[in-house]
């Protein structure tokens, strides 16, 4: 198969998988367009994450295993933008006090850094830094605890959080769903901020250290989101976020929509769910295409060539006067920001934020499998990997169930082996992903669509 045909054929193969999912209920397929589009929308979001990871790994050789954290920050942005401010947050002295606390915290860190960099090394500097850090911490906790207790006391059953920026207010915020789109870039900004902190510390050291540091920041972001109830209700979850596309129920109540659906031979319920999914699909595809275009432009620009030169030979690039660490920081922030955007989009699609649902195997390592299998260094490859692996991730369970049924078809319904096989089908996913990753790394390390 020639190189030029390879990518279109692989994409066509993936397209067939999705079409089969929508049209036939044979084998593992469901025969439902609703399901097919559901898988596709998540695949599009995964493709954006894979683009971000490919930027870091494929262009620059950076190993980031904190993708989950950046994705979660994007989700947080969606909540902070799309919810209306909780009444009382900003009047009863809760919100302002939290803001004050965060400013105090930031000021403490800045002061400590200034002392470290301005004063000569010695006892004065060490004592000064310690005093500022300890004093700053207690000031921060004093302001913060007070603010938090006020905010969390407001209607704790339904709110207890600061809410967001939605101008529609508690009664009308659903009409302002379009504001959610603003959360997408903001999610990127939040992720970029976290990436800057991590990159500043861990880049320029051994590659393993970046991996360990990103693994840590992701866990911490998730524990902040689980425990800071004032921020986004923690494990109490935020549900019913407004969204930029129409609600199914509104469509079903619209006479003109029902009429249009009937003209296609569809009942109103099915048509409305498919319509909503298609609307999301269009939005996501636009974002994906824009990011892909930007990423391709960047790759072909002098900047992209320099990045790859650095990746291929860091020492030589450094000898030519390139500031390797600064370039790495740049691309690390950009890639993480893209993951943040994707995270915000995902929370928009779900209309809810459930911090407990963020699992590193699903949101970090699975994305890695997508990039490696698709072809690191090749944007199209990463996108293909995302489609294919996400499809596989969803379908491995039915496939495993099917396989176990075939293997044990001769046995009685309650045979222990048959029961055990059926149970273990649920655990097939991780195992399959690991095998797929190792096989590709070993026998086709450049992936399905290799870098040009």
């Amino acid at each position: 198969m020639s190189q030029s045909l390879r990518a279109p054929l692989l994409f066509a193969f993936v397209a067939v998988l999705f079409i089969l999912e929508g049209t036939t209920s044979a084998w593992i397929f469901s025969g439902s367009w609703n399901t097919s589009l559901g898988i596709l929308n998540m695949a599009l979001i995964s493709a954006i994450m894979a683009l971000g990871v490919n930027l870091q790994w494929g262009y620059a050789g950076l190993f980031n295993v904190g993708i989950m954290g950046f994705v979660a920050l994007g989700g947080l942005a969606t909540v902070l933008v799309s919810l209306p401010p909780t009444p009382g947050t900003w009047t009863a002295g809760g919100g302002p006090r939290i803001v004050l606390a965060l400013l105090l915290g930031a000021a403490t860190v800045v002061a400590a850094v200034l002392i470290q960099s301005r004063l000569p090394k010695g006892r004065v500097r060490a004592l000064g830094t310690l005093t500022i850090l300890v004093g700053g911490f207690f000031l921060y906790r004093w302001a913060f605890d007070g603010g938090v207790s006020v905010v969390e006391a407001i209607n704790p059953a339904n709110a207890g959080n600061i809410g967001g920026l939605n101008p529609g207010g508690v009664d009308g915020f659903r009409d302002w769903g379009v504001i959610t789109l603003l959360a997408w870039p903001l999610g990127g900004v939040l992720a970029a901020g976290a990436a800057w902190v991590i990159g500043k510390t861990a880049l320029g050291l051994r590659s393993d250290y970046l991996a360990i540091a990103t693994l840590g920041i992701a866990e911490i972001i998730i524990s902040v989101m689980k425990n800071e109830d004032w921020l986004a209700r923690g494990v109490k979850n935020v549900i019913g976020l407004p969204r930029p596309v129409p609600y199914e129920i509104d469509l079903q109540n619209s006479a003109s929509f029902v009429e249009r659906a009937a003209s296609f031979g569809l009942d109103a319920t099915t048509a409305s769910t498919i319509y909503v999914k298609l609307a999301y699909m269009v939005l996501f595809t636009v974002v994906l295409l824009v990011l892909l275009w930007l990423a391709e432009r960047a790759l072909k620009s002098p900047w992209g060539r320099m990045m790859r030169a650095i990746r291929d030979n860091e020492t030589a690039a450094e000898a030519m006067g390139k500031d390797v660490t600064a370039r790495h920081l740049q691309i690390f922030i950009l890639g993480s920001a893209i993951c943040g955007i994707a995270g915000a989009m995902m929370t928009t699609l779900d209309s809810q934020l459930t911090p407990g649902a963020y699992q590193p195997l699903r949101f970090t390592f699975l994305i890695w499998v997508m990039v490696i299998i698709g072809g690191s260094g090749n944007n199209l490859g990463s996108i293909l990997g995302a489609f294919l692996i996400w499809w596989l991730w969803v379908q491995v369970e039915p496939m495993g169930l099917w396989l176990s049924q075939v293997l044990t078809s001769g046995l009685a319904e309650d045979n222990w082996f048959r029961v055990a096989m059926a149970d273990s089908a649920a655990h097939m996913r991780l195992f399959t992903m690991g095998i797929a990753l190792l096989l590709v790394l070993r026998f086709s390390p450049r992936g399905l669509i290799p870098e040009k």
């Binding site: 295993v65 911490f137 490696i372 990753l437």
Partner: protein
Amino acid sequence: MDFLNGLVTLANFVLIPATSYGAQLALGALGVTLIYGILRFSNFAHGDTMAFGTTITILLTWWFQSMGISFGVLPTALLALPFGIAATGLLLVGTDRVVYRFYRRKKAAPVILVIVSVGVMFIMNGIVRFIIGVSDQNFADGERFIISARDFKDMTGLAEGLALRTTQVLTVVVAVIVVAVLFWFLNKTRTGKSMRAFSDNEDLALLSGINPERVVMVTWLIVAGLATVAGVLYGLDKSFKPFTYFQLLLPIFASAVVGGLGNPLGAIAGGFVVAFSEVTVTYAWKKVLTYWLPDSLAPDGLVQLMSTDYKFAVSFAILIIVLLFKPTGLFKGQSV
């Protein structure tokens, strides 16, 4: 009296738990640091290796229990432990043959090996789920306490109790024995010295006639022992849940980096630094301070620096501080 009561409280809630947790982290970090020293990559599958070893040990423990075999006051799991280690050793050596050796021969970059270890992590995680599922498993038996809080109060007449669990003492005793044997092995035996030589200067070790494949195999076997012991002790002390073991990666990596990657002594020190920081920062000091301070200064709040949910943040903060100020770790690690 107040002072003693405060001290007992401190021992009960900080010193004893942190010591046993520190010993568990140290054993885990020793495994990570050995792999780093010999095979030169950070093994992301280490948490799941611990989970695998523990899983096998748990299965055998249940089997022994069902056959009526017990270890008296000690947990039956100790009897099953050697078999768990053997199974893990087989798995690791097999994994090396099938997976890692190929990249070693190719002299692949460390980051590739890290990614490969991520693939291995997925598979091991899958195997553990196949075998034992994802839920919490409790397999501790035998005598629960050496001293219970009530006995201690009766004995001493103090208001505060001090509970000393069997698993805590067992953790420390086993860890001391394991570490002593490991250091004797590394410093006194021919094979142990050849491992250190290999870790120090691979090319020169090859020139000196040291067989790299043998060094690597012995390393995996030792790592299997360390990981299984660490996993079983942690599981006895707390409980076994596969996902918790994956999450242990972070404090374990933090311990190894803090001590200096590749330095066994550092891994032990790092384990205790991380454990003690985690416990002291997340402990509510109100009770201890109420005993120790005059009444006028007694604190109103819990005096808890951070909620226990942020224990990972503590390992992470330590990690960042070390990376910022001393990237080679407290003890000299191998490289930046």
